[in-house]
Amino acid sequence: MQLDKKVIGHEFEAFSTTVEAGKVKLFCKAIGEEDPIYVDEAAAKAAGYRAVPVPPTFLQAITNDDPGKGGLLRLLNVDIGLILHGEQHYDYYAPVFVGDKITCQQKVTDMYDKKGGALWFVVSETSMKDQSGKLVAKGTGITVVRNPDAGKK
């Protein structure tokens, strides 16, 4: 299996999604987050927020709302069982709140291999803008693809 470096620069179709309170609540339960600001509007306002904010890594749940989810796998033509998450980085420019409509745009920015082609690293960046068009966050992820052909030669 060969990954195609021509995908560097590929831009996925942008999509928008509205942040739902119930989803933030389930996310908090899953990670064991118990700060009431993420589930209780009164607590959020008492802490100085205009609405209920989302936890820092809830941005992943927002990007996973992509109706074209799995686009990177289809672009690379690899099975989901062969990928691992290598790195993830977020830059936060403003908090995201329940009720915000976030527009995400992902693009492939780099690709390289290690261990003689046994592992491929695909870097992608996702910009996230709120309903006013303000950039609120940027996500940079590195997806590791295990090459099933490695060691067969």
């Binding site: 990670i31 987050e33 118990e34 904010p53 936890p55 820092p56 890594t57 749940a61 989810k69 993830q88």
Partner: protein, 144 residues
């Protein structure tokens, strides 16, 4: 105990080498992986379907890297309020299995001023019961 939002760290009182109070988590359970599958929208079956995980060469299901990064987010927001977080990033350095007991720890690695803000750089990590780091991360928060 319900976690409460902390106050912003005070720049002049923070010293390089200061540590964040560690958090020891309950053992990772398959139930938690199922909750994270739904909560995060990461539906990769490798984290919840043992048959699928075995088919791809793993001995068991394993935790989403992003679940552990969520733990790092909890650690950082125990140190500074949510609206003070400027950066959070990590390398996923080893796999977290069901039953693993993860400890979250962090320390101040730098202080600087940038863009009119007083920033504190942190090293944050997840470490399992064998002393192996599963996530090696970093964060930047704005102090007051």
């Amino acid at each position: 105990m319900v976690a409460a939002t902390p106050k912003a760290p005070i720049f002049d009182q923070v010293k390089v080498g200061d540590t964040i109070k560690p958090i020891v988590l309950p053992p990772i359970s398959r139930h938690q992986l199922a909750l994270y599958c739904g909560g995060s929208g990461d539906h990769n079956p490798i984290h919840v379907d043992l048959d699928f995980a075995k088919k791809f060469g793993f001995k068991d299901v394993f935790a989403h890297g992003m679940l552990s990064m969520g733990f790092l987010g909890r650690l950082v927001t125990s140190y500074a309020p949510r609206d003070r977080i400027r950066k959070l990033g990590t390398r996923f350095t080893s796999i977290t299995w069901p039953g693993d007991v993860i400890t979250l720890s962090g320390k101040v690695t730098g202080k600087r001023e940038e863009g009119g803000e007083k920033l504190i750089d942190l090293e944050v990590k997840c470490t399992n019961q064998n002393g192996q780091d599963t996530l090696q991360g970093h964060a930047t928060v704005a102090a007051s």
